[in-house]
C-alpha cells in the first residue's frame, strides 16, 4: 500500500491566494456576529482562536526553519495536499455534529473514484463499454455513488437505530469490497484530460481542487450557520430528545448528514483519481482517520452539538502543513504519524482543560 505522501504528488502552482487569509476572515466575521463579550463567548473565542493560533505558530516556525516552506510553489502544494482531506473532513463535521461518525469515507473515495474513472478512461480494456463518456457524466456517476453509500448508511443509522460506528464500519468493508469487485482488483488508468482537469487544472492560477475545497467550505459554512437545516443539525446533536419534542424530524436530519458525507467522499474520490491520473482499488485507505482527526483538532465535540466547520478547515490545514513541514525537514513519514497522533490527543486534552478549567 502506498503511503499517504506518495499518493499526493507534489505539484506546481502559482499565484496562490492564501487559504489561511480566508479562514482568518471567516473566524473574524463569525465573532463579530456573536459579539465580543461574556465569559462563555470568550471561551468559544479562545477555542477557535486557539486552534488558529496553533496554526499560525506552526506556519511561523516552519517559515523560519525552512526557506522553501513559504514559497508559492510549496503553499500551493500544501493546499493541494489538504484539499481532499479537507473535503472529507467537512462532510465528517456534519455527521459528528449529530453525534454520529462516518468510518466509510475512505472506502467510498475508492469506490466513487474507480466507478467514475471507468466512465472517463480512454483505455479500451479498463473502462466500461463505450468509454470515454463526457466528463459531466463521469462526475455525476461518482457523486451518485457517494450519495448512494451515504444514503445506505443514513437509513441504517436513522431508521434502524444501528450505532453509526457499526453501520459505517459495515459500509467501510462493503464499499471496499465493491471497489475490488468492480475493478477486478485492478486500477483504472488513462483518464481523459478533461476529467483530470478537476485534479490538476487551475482557475485563475489557483489549483482546481483548492477552489473546490473553498466552495465546499463556503456552502457548508452557510448551511451550518445560516440555514434551518443547520439549526436542526446542532439541535439533534445537542439534545435529540429536545429536538424531537420541538417537532424536528430527527430521522430526516440524520439521514441527510450521511448523504452529505457520502457525496463529499464521492467528490474527494474523483479529485484523487483525477490528480493521480488513475483510480486505484486501494485508494483512500485510512482516510477516514485523517478526516476525523481534522474535525477533532478543529474543536468539534465527538459527543455532538458543538463545533464549527471553520475549525475543521483549520484542523485539516494543520495536518497538511505539519506533513509538509516534516517532509521538508526530511523527517520520515513514520515519524509524522507519531506526531500526528500526539497532535490529535494534545488538541483534545487542551480542549478538555479549557472546558473544565473555566
Amino acid at each position: 500500500m502506498p503511503s499517504r505522501s506518495s499518493i499526493y504528488q507534489p505539484e506546481e502552482g502559482k499565484g496562490v491566494r492564501s487559504m489561511a487569509e480566508e479562514s482568518v476572515m471567516s473566524v473574524g466575521d463569525n465573532k463579530s456576529a456573536n459579539g465580543w463579550f461574556g465569559s462563555e463567548q470568550r471561551r468559544l473565542l479562545i477555542q477557535e482562536y486557539g486552534i488558529f493560533l496553533a496554526f499560525v505558530i506552526l506556519v511561523a516556525v516552519l517559515s523560519v526553519s525552512n526557506e522553501f516552506f513559504l514559497t508559492a510553489g510549496n503553499i500551493s502544494n500544501v493546499l493541494l495536499q489538504t484539499s481532499i482531506n479537507g473535503v472529507l473532513a467537512i462532510g465528517m463535521t456534519f455527521v459528528i455534529l449529530t453525534r454520529g461518525i462516518d468510518l466509510s469515507v475512505g472506502s467510498v473515495v475508492a469506490l466513487a473514484g474507480i466507478v467514475s474513472a471507468s466512465f472517463v478512461t480512454s483505455s479500451a480494456t479498463a473502462g466500461i463499454s463505450g468509454a470515454p463518456y463526457p466528463v459531466a457524466l463521469g462526475l455525476g456517476i461518482g457523486l451518485l455513488v457517494g450519495i448512494a453509500c451515504g444514503a445506505v448508511s443514513g437509513v441504517i443509522v436513522s431508521r434502524f437505530s444501528v450505532p453509526a460506528f457499526v453501520a459505517t464500519l459495515g459500509m467501510l468493508s462493503a464499499a471496499r469490497g465493491m471497489t475490488l469487485i468492480y475493478g477486478g482488483g485492478r486500477p483504472v488508468p488513462a483518464l481523459t484530460p478533461a476529467f483530470r482537469w478537476i485534479g490538476t487544472g487551475n482557475i485563475l492560477g489557483i489549483p482546481a481542487p483548492v477552489v473546490i475545497l473553498a466552495v465546499v467550505f463556503a456552502v457548508s459554512w452557510w448551511i451550518l450557520n445560516r440555514t434551518r437545516f443547520g439549526r436542526y443539525i446542532y439541535a439533534v446533536g445537542g439534545n435529540p430528545h429536545a429536538a424531537r419534542t420541538s417537532g424536528i424530524n430527527i430521522t430526516r436530519t440524520q439521514f441527510a448528514v450521511y448523504v452529505i458525507s457520502g457525496s463529499l467522499a464521492g467528490l474527494a474520490g474523483m479529485l484523487l483519481s483525477a490528480r493521480t491520473g488513475s483510480a486505484l482499488p486501494q485508494a483512500g485507505i485510512a482516510y477516514e482517520l485523517d478526516a476525523i482527526a481534522a474535525v477533532v483538532i478543529g474543536g468539534t465535540s465527538l459527543s455532538g452539538g458543538v463545533g464549527r466547520v471553520t475549525g475543521t478547515l483549520i484542523g485539516a490545514l494543520i495536518i497538511g502543513v505539519m506533513n509538509n513541514g516534516l517532509d521538508l525537514m526530511g523527517i520520515q513519514s513514520y515519524y509524522q504519524q507519531v506526531l500526528k497522533g500526539a497532535l490529535i490527543v494534545g488538541a483534545v486534552m487542551l480542549d478538555q482543560k479549557r472546558n473544565y478549567g473555566a
Partner: protein, 492 residues
C-alpha cells in the same frame, strides 16, 4: 452543646464572579436542618465545597469543633460528611450491595471480593434502616425512591454523621417521600445531623426543625421553624414581600379546548377521558409512574395510543408525531428541561426558536433578524435574565431556563399548553412568575393541562383536578370540593 458542623465566612468566586460571598451554617446533632434559598443563592456552591469538589477561597469549616480541610470528596467522606446528590449516579448493572461498597469491597482470598460478607453487611445496614430492599437486587430494578434509600444506606456505611440531601424528593412521589421522611426521622433519632435542601416549603415545614436561608451568595438568617411561618420564610428567601403565592386570574369559558376520550396505551395508561375548556387550568395529580407523563406523550405524538380520540377545538385530530400536535396548536413543556426541553450546548436564542424554525424561516436560509426579534420579545415577556441571548442556555439559572422552555412554546402561539411539572427545580420567585404566565395564558382564552406532584401547586392553580392512579383516572374534582388529604388518599 457541641456542633456537628460549623461553617463561617465561606467564600468562593469563579473568574471574578462571587458565587458564595458569606456562607454560614451551624448543624446540631439530632436535628433536620433545612437549607433554603432561591436558584443562584449559593447553595450548590456551598454543598460542593463541603463535598470537597470545590476548594474554598476563604472561611472555616469545623467538624465537632475541629477545623477540617477537604482536598477531594474522599476527605469529606472520611470526616463523616456524606451528600446525597439530586442527580443520583448509581451503577445500574450492579447489585445494591455492590453499589454501597463500590471501591471498598471486602477482600477475600487471592484478591477476590468476599461477596458473602458484602451482601451480609449491606443487608444488615438496610434492615437496620427498615428499608424494604434486598442487597442482592440489581440497582436498575429499583425505583428512584429506592435508589435514594440505597444512597442513604451508602452514606451510613461510611458512618457519616452529617448527611446532606439535595432536593431528594424532586424525582419521587408523595408516598415515597413519606417513606423517605420516615428514614430521615430514624437517622435523626440516632443523633445524626441531616441537612435538607429543597424548594418545596411544605416539605421543609413537615420534616425540618430548623432552617438557614441563603440569598445572593450570602447567609441571610437562621432559626427554628417553629418560630417562623410560611410567608415569613418566603420573604427571607425572596428578599421581598410576596402578596400571594399563586397568581390565579383565569375563569373557564364554556367552549371546549381539548377533549380526550378513552385514551389507552398498553401497560401505560388505560381509558383516560377528560375535557378541558378554554380559559381553564386542568391539573393532573398522581405519583411517579401513575401514567401522568404518558398521557402527554400520547397527546403529543411521542407515543402511540392503542385506542381513544383527541379533539382540539371540537374537531377530532390525528396525531402521529410531535409536528402534528404542534400543527394543531399543542405545546408540551416536558418534565425534565435538561433532558428533553433544552439543547444546553446552544444559545438562549436558538433554544427559543427551536420549535418554530419552519415558521420563522420559510425559505431554506434562516431569517436571522426575525429570530433575534422573536427571542428579544420572549425575553422581555417572561423577564428571562440572560446577559445576551447568544450565551449558552446552560449558563442560566433553573428558573430562567424553564422560562426559555416556556418562551420556546409561546412563540408558537399555542392553543393548548401541556405542562409537565412546570416548576420543578425552580426557586420561589421564579415559580410565581411562571404561575403568572400560566394564569395569563388561561385568562386570554388558552387551554392549560398541568401535571404536578406538588399538592399546593395543583390545588393553588387548577380549576379542576384529575387524580391518576396506576395508569387509570381515580376521578376528577373541582378545586373547591377537594383538599390535600383526599388527593393523596386517592392517588395511593
Amino acid at each position: 452543646m457541641e456542633l456537628l458542623l460549623e461553617v463561617e465566612g465561606l467564600k468562593k468566586s469563579f473568574g471574578g464572579v462571587a458565587a458564595l460571598r458569606d456562607g454560614r451554617f451551624q448543624l446540631r446533632a439530632g436535628t433536620v436542618h433545612a437549607l433554603c434559598g432561591g436558584n443562584g443563592a449559593g447553595k450548590s456552591t456551598f454543598l460542593k465545597i463541603l463535598m470537597g469538589i470545590f476548594s474554598r477561597d476563604a472561611g472555616s469549616i469545623r467538624r465537632r469543633g475541629k477545623e477540617v480541610e477537604f482536598a477531594n470528596p474522599a476527605d469529606a467522606l472520611a470526616s463523616g460528611i456524606a451528600i446525597i446528590e439530586q442527580e443520583l449516579s448509581p451503577v445500574p448493572h450492579m447489585t445494591v450491595a455492590e453499589n454501597i461498597y463500590l471501591g471498598r469491597e471486602p477482600k477475600a482470598r487471592f484478591g477476590g471480593i468476599d461477596f458473602r460478607a458484602m451482601n451480609r453487611s449491606a443487608q444488615r445496614l438496610l434492615d437496620d434502616l427498615e428499608f424494604d430492599i434486598r442487597a442482592t437486587q440489581y440497582m436498575m430494578n429499583l425505583s428512584v425512591a429506592q435508589m435514594q434509600l440505597v444512597e442513604i444506606a451508602k452514606a451510613l456505611s461510611h458512618d457519616a454523621e452529617v448527611i446532606f440531601m439535595d432536593e431528594p424528593t424532586s424525582a419521587i412521589g408523595e408516598r415515597e417521600a413519606q417513606h423517605l421522611f420516615a428514614a430521615i426521622r430514624r437517622l435523626q433519632a440516632q443523633g445524626r445531623g441531616i441537612v435538607y435542601v429543597s424548594h418545596r416549603l411544605s416539605e421543609i415545614f413537615q420534616i425540618a426543625d430548623s432552617y438557614t436561608v441563603f440569598r445572593d451568595g450570602a447567609y441571610v438568617g437562621s432559626g427554628a421553624l417553629a418560630d417562623i411561618d410560611r410567608p415569613g420564610l418566603i420573604r427571607m428567601i425572596v428578599g421581598r414581600e410576596l402578596s400571594e403565592e399563586f397568581a390565579k386570574t383565569n375563569t373557564p369559558t364554556s367552549q371546549p379546548g381539548i377533549e380526550v376520550a378513552a385514551l389507552s396505551c398498553p401497560n401505560k395508561i388505560e381509558d383516560i377521558s377528560f375535557s378541558v375548556r378554554k380559559g381553564e387550568i386542568f391539573g393532573i395529580y398522581g405519583l411517579m409512574g401513575a401514567g401522568r407523563t404518558e398521557i402527554f406523550n400520547c397527546l403529543f405524538g411521542l407515543d402511540r395510543p392503542s385506542a381513544g380520540s383527541i379533539k382540539v377545538d371540537g374537531t377530532e385530530v390525528s396525531i402521529a408525531k410531535p409536528a402534528d400536535a404542534m400543527a394543531h396548536g399543542l405545546a408540551l413543556v416536558t418534565e425534565d428541561r435538561k433532558l428533553t426541553g433544552l439543547n444546553l450546548a446552544d444559545s438562549v436564542r436558538a433554544n427559543i426558536c427551536m420549535a418554530s424554525l419552519p415558521e420563522m424561516s420559510p425559505a431554506f436560509a434562516m431569517d436571522r433578524a426575525r429570530e433575534a426579534d422573536a427571542s428579544r420579545g420572549m425575553r422581555e415577556k417572561f423577564q428571562i435574565k440572560a446577559a445576551r441571548d447568544t450565551m449558552p442556555v446552560s449558563g442560566l439559572s433553573g428558573g430562567n431556563q424553564q422560562k426559555v422552555v416556556l418562551g420556546k412554546w409561546f412563540l408558537r402561539n399555542p392553543k393548548v399548553l401541556l405542562l409537565d411539572e412546570p416548576t420543578r427545580g425552580v426557586d420561589v420567585g421564579a415559580k410565581r412568575e411562571i404561575y403568572r404566565i400560566i394564569s395569563d395564558f388561561a385568562s386570554s382564552g388558552g387551554t392549560v393541562v398541568m401535571i404536578s406532584s406538588e399538592i399546593d401547586e395543583v390545588l393553588g392553580m387548577s380549576d379542576r383536578i384529575m387524580v391518576m392512579r396506576a395508569g387509570r383516572s381515580a376521578g376528577t374534582f373541582s378545586r373547591e370540593e377537594t383538599d390535600a388529604q383526599s388527593l393523596v388518599h386517592l392517588s395511593t
